[in-house]
């Protein structure tokens, strides 16, 4: 089903664009140029951060961290391997991308922890960064319950990611 979904999405979007009199090819290449720029923009921070994450992995510190977190994480149904991602995600988008990519590479993109990492990256945001830009842009000093509520959403997102992976990709 999913194998057909993506090609069809391409075809329907193209057909819809032409029906709406969009210069299809020009729009595709303009967007692609933006996409390449985004990829180039993430590269410098990824080089710097992935170096540090790979060092942490090689030292054995990440395994140790997973071991320490395992009892609490298993209560929430979250694989302990993803602990570094869970802790970094609310603070730094590029850090989370580095840690998440390393998890996918280390355990394999189709492994349980690897898939969880991808779903977590896709379904959560850099909470502290987002709240900071929003509240500082409109001069808010008292953010009341916004940050605790957003962190609840993050925690639910992590647990739900692992749950969804187990649901859609049961280990056979």
């Amino acid at each position: 089903m999913m194998a057909l979904f993506i090609p069809l999405l391409l075809a329907f979007t193209g057909a819809w664009g032409i029906y709406k009199q969009v210069d299809l090819f020009h729009a595709l290449t303009t967007g692609a140029r933006e996409g390449l720029k985004t990829a180039a923009d993430i590269l410098p921070s990824l080089v710097v951060l992935l170096t540090a994450v790979t060092m942490l992995r090689a030292s054995g510190a990440l395994e140790a961290m997973a071991g320490v977190c395992a009892p609490v994480f298993s209560l929430l149904g979250i694989p302990a391997e993803t602990a570094p991602l869970v802790f970094l995600r609310p603070f730094t988008g590029s850090g989370a991308l580095a840690v998440g990519s390393e998890l996918m590479e280390r355990f394999g993109p189709d492994s349980y922890p690897g898939r969880c990492a991808a779903v977590m990256l896709g379904s959560t945001e850099t909470t502290f960064y987002v709240t900071t830009i929003y509240f500082s842009a409109c001069g808010i000093k008292k953010s009341r319950y916004a940050i605790p509520a957003a962190l609840c959403a993050d925690l639910a997102g992590f647990a739900a990611s692992a749950l969804a992976v187990r649901l859609f990709f049961p280990v056979g």
């Binding site: 979904f5 967007g31 692609a32 510190a61």
Partner: protein, 194 residues
Amino acid sequence: MLMSVLWLAMVAVSILYGAAAGTLPAVSAAVTEGAGTAVTLVLGLSGTMALWCGLLEVLRLSGVLEGLQRLLRPLLRKVYPNTFANNPDAASALSANFCANLLGLGSAATPAGLKAAKEIAAGSDGRAGDELCRLVVMNTASVQLLPVTAAAVRGSLGCDNPFDILPCVWLASLISVSVGLAAARMMQGISDKA
């Protein structure tokens, strides 16, 4: 500053832990390995990223964003009743923000979201109102139909079907945003009583 401290802490912990666990040679090898991996990874994912951004540009130009806004207006009106009743400008910026996030158009989502937030916060003497809190919670919960970056990383690592995580991402996002809004509602009740 946060990133500087974080980075230095990661490097320092690697060295200290490596010294204690006797893994220093591996830590040393990891320096070149990690830097190299970052480049292969980004090279591998830039094709997918570019293609999807092209597709999103077609969606944007063909009015899908506006269509989605009309479709989701009734739903958003339930979450932000005051804004929709009293401030049409903020309401339309707010739906533009939500729908651009949904399509993964980050560069369109943030300006619209900030515009909505400023309109909602106008005259609020520095204290965040309930609907502003909800707007921020929705923006931190990342409701996204096409998680392009995550899928592109999967593709870059040689995965056959990088987008097969879509249903998982939808379910997780839905749960996450629902829990966020429910938590906001509960905490609002508590802060009203206090």
